[in-house]
């Protein structure tokens, strides 16, 4: 109770979120009297980000910086503009489409947001879209990454549930596409309300020139995809491979990137990624302290006592996971909750484990964009120079689209005939 009050009060005062999480962890330890945890606290803070899965964050941030500095992003967006009918808010749809394509290769929301924030947002702004709105669409598009296969979140869930990864991947396709479809609806409404500019129709010759100029730029994403599909690189390593390609194209072909620009790009990426990673470390620390107080298991027992209906159980579960997602990253939150909640879901309520996994992953993914702790939200804000809370407010229609998807999934999961 003391810890919860401290948490809310410190956030309201405007204490940096990372330190709110550290102080709340300390308060929880004091409250439980588990002083022995203090001895492990520094190494848990370090260990919270000591995972391979997070490497995507700094590497894709760097890739985004280099693609921006080398003029690659600008040409890719121009290419999309040249190929597109003059639709209102055309670049917003390009952004979403690019996110769908990236989501089918990558499995990490923050990886996508970091690249797209540097690539798409400046171009959209140049084309007359408000910056905050552009950043919002970019951040929302990132939500597709862990739902459309492949997905790190689903792989982690598969390991806990002992399910074939392929089954979970297949189950992610429909919800992912439904979400993308609902995002199209949201963007269409935003385009009308904000009177977003269409892509200006250009003469044929001009279009041809743009397309040819973009061909070297196109190599960069193609090299990333190619290196993954040929088994040359993991999706994480693909970021490093295509960053190398971006340097070569930016320096050798377009001559917009100079050797002396690279330290600056490295520094900006290190600052942005470093800060978000530290936030993740602090959130992980809090998760560890909460686990020690056996909160996940107690929650599982509480849910079980409250209801006998699978639907009510899943609805309550959704509420709980949404709350958890507010302060935790998806992968640690899955590790925290799935081991205790999955057996209850399958054994007590007869819920299909695959359906349970998809509901859990969609739900917790949303947390990446919800304040007060959302790595995706802060990455988008930091890289586009917008305010996190402003972004979060503008994201509400997209959140509603995800909640509609989630509700559909929940009803389907609770109904044995549907799965």
């Amino acid at each position: 109770m003391i810890a919860a009050v401290a948490f809310v009060a410190l956030i309201a005062l405007g204490v940096p979120i990372a330190w709110v999480l550290v102080l709340t962890s300390l308060a929880l330890i004091a409250q439980g009297g588990d002083w022995i945890l203090l001895e492990s606290l520094p190494q848990q803070l370090f260990g919270g980000i000591e995972t391979y899965a997070l490497l995507a964050l700094p590497l894709f941030t760097l890739l985004g910086e280099l693609m921006g500095a080398g003029g690659i992003g600008r040409r890719l967006l121009a290419l999309a503009g040249a190929l597109l009918p003059p639709l209102k808010g055309g670049l917003a749809y390009v952004n979403l489409l690019a996110n769908v394509l990236m989501a089918s290769v990558l499995g990490s929301t923050t990886a996508q947001i970091t690249v797209m924030s540097r690539l798409a947002v400046p171009e959209m702004e140049r084309a007359g879209h408000p910056r905050e709105l552009s950043a919002t669409i970019t951040a929302a598009g990132g939500l597709l990454a862990p739902i459309l296969p492949p997905s790190m979140n689903l792989i982690v869930f598969a390991a806990i549930a002992q399910l074939p990864v392929a089954e979970l991947f297949v189950a992610g396709v429909v919800p992912g596409l439904v979400m993308a479809g609902l995002f199209v609806v949201v963007i269409a409404r935003l385009a009308r309300r904000h009177d977003l500019p269409p892509v200006a129709p250009a003469p044929m010759a001009e279009r041809g020139r743009v397309i040819i100029a973009a061909l070297p730029a196109l190599c960069v994403p193609l090299i990333a995809v190619g290196s993954i599909l040929t088994g040359l690189a993991t999706p994480t390593e693909a970021a490093a491979v295509s960053a190398c390609a971006a340097v070569l194209v930016g320096m050798g072909v377009y001559r917009e990137l100079r050797l002396r620009d690279i330290p600056g790009a490295l520094l900006r990426a290190a600052k942005g990624a470093g800060q978000v990673l530290f936030l993740v470390a602090c959130a992980q620390l809090l998760g560890w302290v909460l686990t020690y107080s056996n909160l996940p298991a107690m929650t599982a027992r509480l849910l079980q006592d409250l209801t006998q209906s699978p639907l009510v159980f899943l609805l309550l579960l959704n509420l709980m996971l949404l709350a958890l997602g507010m302060i935790m990253e998806p992968i640690p939150a899955i590790i925290l909750t799935a081991p205790v909640l999955l057996p209850v879901a399958t054994d007590v309520y007869g819920i299909d484990p695959v359906a349970f996994g998809i509901v859990t992953c969609v739900n917790l993914t949303l947390g990446l964009l919800t304040p007060p702790v959302g790595a995706g939200l802060y990455t988008a804000a930091l890289l586009t120079g917008t305010r996190p809370l402003g972004l979060a407010r503008r994201l509400i229609p997209f959140f509603l689209a995800v909640l509609v998807t989630l509700l559909g999934l929940t009803v389907a999961a609770a109904n044995p005939f549907a799965s």
Partner: protein, 227 residues
Amino acid sequence: MAAHSRQKFFAFALRSFMSPLNLRKAARRGRRRGKTRSEMLEHGSELPVLARMDRAILRLEGAVAALLLGALALLMLANVGLRAFGRPLLWGDELAVYLMVWTAFLGASIAIATRMQVAVDLLAERLGARGRDRLALLVDAVVLAALLILSWLVWRWFDPVGLLRTGSGAALAAETFNFIYQNPTLTLGLPKTLFWAVLPVFCLCAAFHALAALCDDIARLSAGRRT
């Protein structure tokens, strides 16, 4: 350096370092000329020693963080290439993760120094200029307090005094159940302490930044009171 001038130098350094007065003066000077702190940071000559050191640390951190991230990208690239030729770096992934953790802690310290930390600023928005300065002081004090607690925990964990007394990591572990110097890495063949060392580095640098920010807040508040 002659003894006399050395003495004078130390006295000056001590004065400038210890007393927030100089900082206040600098802030007033800056404010009179309509400068913000970050603008003042660009014209270092006007700044007292504390702020100048703060800025030097910041620059060093930035350089190291950029270098580490560059090394991380090159390492991943090298691993892809070497694996294609059937000689993967067995320690590549582990080192990459440690490079990332170092970058993260340096980035966090830089964020404190540049006042770029992520926070919910709804309350500050509702306050006037003076209230905002007071709130900034309170928030920076909380951050410094949290950092001091963390520093204390890191100090206890590294237990340099205990290590000196017992003479070795193994002896320290046997006597106090503190195994910090006994933990290996998985593939690098190096003691884990080498990488954990980022924690004391972070605590030192970040606490320094937090202290400088706090002095800056005090200077701004008192400069505001005089005018």
